[in-house]
């Protein structure tokens, strides 16, 4: 079966856009209707994405093209890599929405929150479906705009400060990206995703210029991907409500950065050309530095969410490391981690949010004995943490295994050392938490206990955490099965990067 | 005034003068001879006096907009009085001698105005000059504290003020309704139309200039102005 369908990508985009507009227009107190909007849109989007993903596997061609100016088109297209990201975000959006409905029960400003929430997901899916770098940039900036109100949602002095820092970083990054993009466009016209064909066809262009453009693009994207030294916004943005953190860390923002780097390396420059230009090895170094730096900083954090934030800094760079490794196995490791990290990190944030919401616990040393009060949440947290450390057979292990092999293939054996060191560090900052949860007795009253009637916590908060934890177990256990993340990553590589 | 400002002004003025002098000295000989063109076409225009022909026929669109400028200024003056209500208007010197002089002078001035208007078709003169003379007589009337009874009603003044522009616009639009270009009067009617427009313009210009004079806050007026709006609006 093969053919062309222009409207399906637009429909996927429209589901959350329409939901966003609808939610904005709702009066604050229409909670029921809003929930209906949210869930319908999330389910519809997931269904459409799955349908489209299956179509792409079958060789269907989905593309929508609209001319913006002379020589620049707005392109929505479904390809393997994009569908992978779209699938991740729409799946996790569903869970995050359910979680957020539970989390924000009785909180003010829900219309605004869910409106921007939907807008944020619309931008993420737009990023996934963007058919050229220009379109990618459109949605990349839209993502910045739609996440700002979420970051400052609480409206406290701290939240506003975090919002300001977030904006300075992301808008600055956007400007750098725009500069790179504009330079690229002035050379090639439309910066298409064609595995580097256009860029390589440039005959008389100084390689230094191409390198400069690459650096600008990666620097612009690296802000969202939290590469050092551009990671500063991520820990401060932790003041946002837990579903927002989940969104920032697992579904949308940092992933958009990592995904963008993947697009630049694979689709704009082409991995071979990028390798020839000698761009990949510095990127790998940067990724490794970020991995170690994030882990070391995470060790020193006493606030649970901040520790998770630094963990994200570290973990996202696995993706970038995988991208920078020249060779199919390393690439597979990077791409699969895009999904794995999302599943694991969202689980951890859901759990952190549950602790905060149910027990009022924010600091790690307050967690003593939480396992007894909230066993299910704690099991989910444990799964996530073990996954992060890379304990077999969980998802994180698969990633690290592939990355290690890929590094050896690419002739960068030192990466293995980094991976081992990072795993040890992961263990060093996660195991003490697990120890406190499970093996320490409770110390006095919880700071602010809610949901006393529940055995664990509110079911709307608990269920998403358990499901995502389950997924991350499944992703590791069933890595060899069809439609697992690994399978998908391999398909991407086989179809698109290995002719 | 500060030294800096003085120096800046002197520099600007000097540079300006030099540039203009340069432009005048270096100017090319004009290729086009517009006066000859006016001469050639004046038979088809609505007036024999070339300036009137240019004003009211060849470039009548300019004049139309210019009448608009005058009316606009009057409207702004009205609007400002609306925003800052004045006390009673008690202007006038009201001495018997002045009154006598003016009552003698007034008919004469009206006559001169009418003549200047009529002259415009063939000789120097026309609506603007006539309007100015009428306005001057109006000023004299006001100085003497006399009123023209018919103009006490605001809407009549408004109507007369708008008359010039209204008639002009109508004269512009009518040919268009008849299928010609806008403002393109058929040769047979051109003269009549120009005269009608001129009369209307004279009235409006005279009244407009007078109104601009009258709508400034009167000299004899309460000293303190209070903003009658208390509700905060817009920017301030």
């Amino acid at each position: 079966m093969s053919g062309t369908n222009a409207w399906l990508p637009l429909a996927v985009l429209a589901t959350s856009l329409v939901a966003a507009v609808g939610i904005f227009l709702l009066r604050e107190h229409r909670h029921g209707l809003r929930t209906v909007f949210n869930l319908t849109a999330a389910l519809l989007k997931l269904a459409l994405v799955v349908w489209m993903a299956l179509g792409v596997l079958d060789g269907m061609h989905y593309e929508l093209r609209h001319s913006l100016f002379e020589g620049i088109d707005f392109v929505l297209r479904a390809d393997m890599l994009g569908m992978m990201f779209a699938g991740l975000s729409s799946l996790l959006w569903l869970f995050t929405t359910i979680y957020a409905i539970g989390y924000l029960e009785n909180a003010p400003n829900r219309s605004r929150f869910f409106g921007f929430f939907s807008l944020c997901v619309a931008s993420t899916v737009g990023i996934a479906l963007a058919g050229n770098l220009f379109t990618f940039f459109l949605f990349y900036e839209l993502l910045t705009l739609s996440t700002y109100p979420l970051v400052v949602h609480r409206g406290t002095e701290k939240a506003l400060r975090a919002g300001r820092i977030y904006l300075i970083y992301t808008l600055g990054g956007g400007a750098v990206l725009l500069l790179g993009l504009a330079l690229l466009a002035s050379l090639v016209g439309e910066p298409a995703f064609d595995a580097g064909a256009t860029v390589q066809a440039l005959e008389d262009v100084d390689p230094t210029l191409l390198t400069t453009i690459f650096v600008l693009l990666v620097a612009g994207l690296g802000v969202k991907a939290a590469l050092i030294p551009l990671h500063g916004w991520l820990p401060t943005a932790m003041v946002a409500p837990a579903p927002v953190s989940a969104l920032l860390h697992a579904v949308a923002v940092v992933k958009a950065g990592a995904f963008g780097i993947a697009r630049v390396v694979y689709d704009v420059y082409g991995i071979e050309f990028a390798w020839q230009l000698g761009l990949l090895e510095p990127l790998a170094w940067l990724a490794c530095a970020t991995i170690l730096f994030g882990s070391i900083r995470a060790l020193a954090q006493t606030d649970l969410k901040r520790r998770l934030a630094f963990s994200t800094v570290s973990q996202v760079s696995y993706v970038i490391l995988g991208i920078a490794l020249f060779g199919p196995v390393g690439t597979a490791g990077g791409l699969v981690h895009l999904l794995h990290q999302g599943l694991m990190k969202i689980t951890l944030f859901f759990c952190a949010g549950n602790y905060a919401e149910t027990l009022g616990v924010h600091r790690i040393d307050e967690l003593d004995g939480a396992g007894r009060r909230m066993p299910a949440t704690s099991v989910a947290f444990t799964v996530g943490a073990f996954g992060m450390i890379g304990v077999p057979p969980l998802a994180g292990f698969v990633t690290k295994w592939y990355l290690g092999i890929g590094a050896l293939d690419a002739g960068m054996a030192w990466v293995v050392a980094v991976l081992i060191a990072s795993s040890l560090l992961n263990a060093a900052y996660f195991l003490p938490i697990l120890h406190r949860i499970w093996f320490r007795p409770q110390r006095g009253e919880w700071p602010d206990e809610q949901y006393k009637q529940h055995r664990d916590t509110h079911p709307l908060l608990l269920a998403p955490a358990l499901v995502t934890a389950g997924f991350s177990v499944g992703a590791g256990l069933l890595a060899g099965m069809p439609f697992s993340p690994l399978y998908w990553a391999e398909v991407v590589i086989l179809r698109e990067y290995l002719p | 005034m500060s030294r800096l400002r003085l120096a800046a002004a002197a520099t600007a003025a000097l540079g300006f003068a030099l540039a203009l002098a340069l432009a005048v000295i270096e100017r090319p000989a004009a290729v086009l001879n517009l006066p000859a063109l006016v001469e050639a076409e004046i038979a088809g225009a609505g007036a024999l006096h070339p300036i009137t022909a240019v004003l009211l026929d060849f470039r009548s669109f300019d004049t139309l907009l210019e009448v608009g400028v005058l009316l606009l200024a009057v409207i702004v003056a009205y609007a400002l009085r609306e925003a800052q209500p004045d006390g009673p208007d008690r202007m006038g010197l009201d001495t018997p001698l002045l009154r006598a002089v003016i009552s003698l002078l007034l008919p004469l001035m009206l006559l001169v105005g009418a003549y200047v208007l009529w002259a415009g078709a063939t000789r120097p003169g026309g609506a603007f000059q006539a309007g100015a003379i009428l306005a001057a007589s109006g000023l004299a009337l006001r100085l003497a504290g006399l009123r023209v009874g018919g103009l006490d009603r605001a809407w009549r003044v408004h109507a007369l003020l708008a008359l010039g522009l209204a008639v002009f616009v109508a004269a512009a639009v009518l040919p268009a309704l008849a299928g010609h270009a806008m403002l393109d009067h058929p040769a047979t009617l051109a003269k009549t139309i120009v005269i009608v427009v001129e009369i209307a313009l004279t009235v409006s210009i005279a009244l407009g200039l007078l109104a601009l004079f009258r709508l400034a806050p009167p000299q004899v007026d309460g000293p303190v102005f209070e903003d009658r709006r208390s509700k905060p609006r817009g920017g301030a």
């Binding site: - | 120097p124 003169g125 000059q129 100015a132 001057a136 601009l212 004079f213 400034a216 806050p217 000299q219």
Partner: protein
């Protein structure tokens, strides 16, 4: 160009300078009116009687009266007692 033109040119410039630089506002305005009348003569010399008429009636006449009236207004209006600047308004 005749000597009359020279004289006229000088008169125009002189009255303009006086109108612009006189210390006293009243004198400046009177000079402005004289300037307008000189301008009317200039227009006559330029074979532009229409403008001469208009300049005399509008430029010198109406503008002059408006300016004088405004000056009278400035002089008659109250001045803020505490504000030394207020006096400058009418001078």
């Amino acid at each position: 160009m005749s000597p009359f033109d020279l004289l006229l040119g000088f008169a125009v410039c002189a009255t303009a300078a006086l109108a612009l630089l006189s210390r006293e506002l009243f004198r400046a305005i009177v000079m402005f009116i004289v300037f307008g009348l000189c301008m009317a003569l200039v227009w006559v010399r330029l074979e532009a009687p229409d403008i001469a008429l208009a300049e005399a009636a509008i430029g010198a006449g109406i503008t002059g009266v408006l300016l004088l009236d405004t000056l009278g207004y400035l002089r008659r209006r109250y001045r803020k007692p505490a504000n030394g600047q207020g006096g400058e308004g009418a001078r």
